[in-house]
Amino acid sequence: MSGSADKSEMTGSRWELAAHLVRDRRLGLAMLGGGLLYFVIAALGWNPLPCPFLQVTGKPCPGCGMTRSCLAFLRGDFADVWLLNPFGPVFAVFWAVVGFGVALPQPRRSRFAEKLGRIESRTRWAAWVGCGLAIYCLTRWIGLW
């Protein structure tokens, strides 16, 4: 009984990403802080952590250009967003939601994470964005983008 309950809980939470980071506040804050630090360094024109996927395969990964795309999005340069990585704004919104959730005080944070988790499990947005990124990546590899 408890085994099946655990299993159903695992299935339900499989698609949670933002909710996972809001719940695990330490991890969420570390990811946000690290991401922000990297973002500031990238804005200054330096790339201290080159993409390991690009280093191994020589091909850009689906996330390559994401930081520059987010920077272009914040500048309001939508032509550059489209050229660099059209999924940049999706991740900018994702981090904004995580930042909002992590900043909430405890009882409200848990409720927010629960609601967010339900939305993520229902919409499975991560899977859709993942599929979109995979297709986008393939078009980049064959030179269509």
Partner: protein, 101 residues
């Protein structure tokens, strides 16, 4: 100077990739698949996750080596930048002029 830079970049790069793979394996074993998949495409995600779970999953040594490798890469980048700047100053390399349309 360029040879030193290349050696540092290669050492740091190879070391980083090995540590990244070790962290990815731990990630897939201990987290949801979605978190692991993100780690494949975002090295920074795997790096921060590794440090956050270093004490609980026994990843401290790996993370220290990975951090040192990143440090080596940064030093390599600085040295190669200085080498290229020196070559530009001595006229060995010409900086391409931007074209005007």
């Amino acid at each position: 100077m360029t040879a030193i830079a290349i050696a540092l970049l290669a050492l740091g790069g190879i070391g980083s990739i090995i540590c990244w793979i070790i962290v990815l394996i731990k990630m897939f074993k201990n987290e949801k698949p979605l978190i692991g998949v993100l780690g494949i495409f975002c090295g920074l995600w795997a790096f921060i996750w590794g440090w956050m779970k270093a004490s609980t999953l026994g990843l401290k040594k790996t993370m220290l080596i990975w951090s040192a490798c990143i440090g080596l890469t940064i030093v390599g980048q600085v040295i190669s930048g200085m080498a290229v700047a020196g070559q530009i100053e001595s006229g060995e390399i010409q900086v391409p002029q931007p074209q005007s349309y």
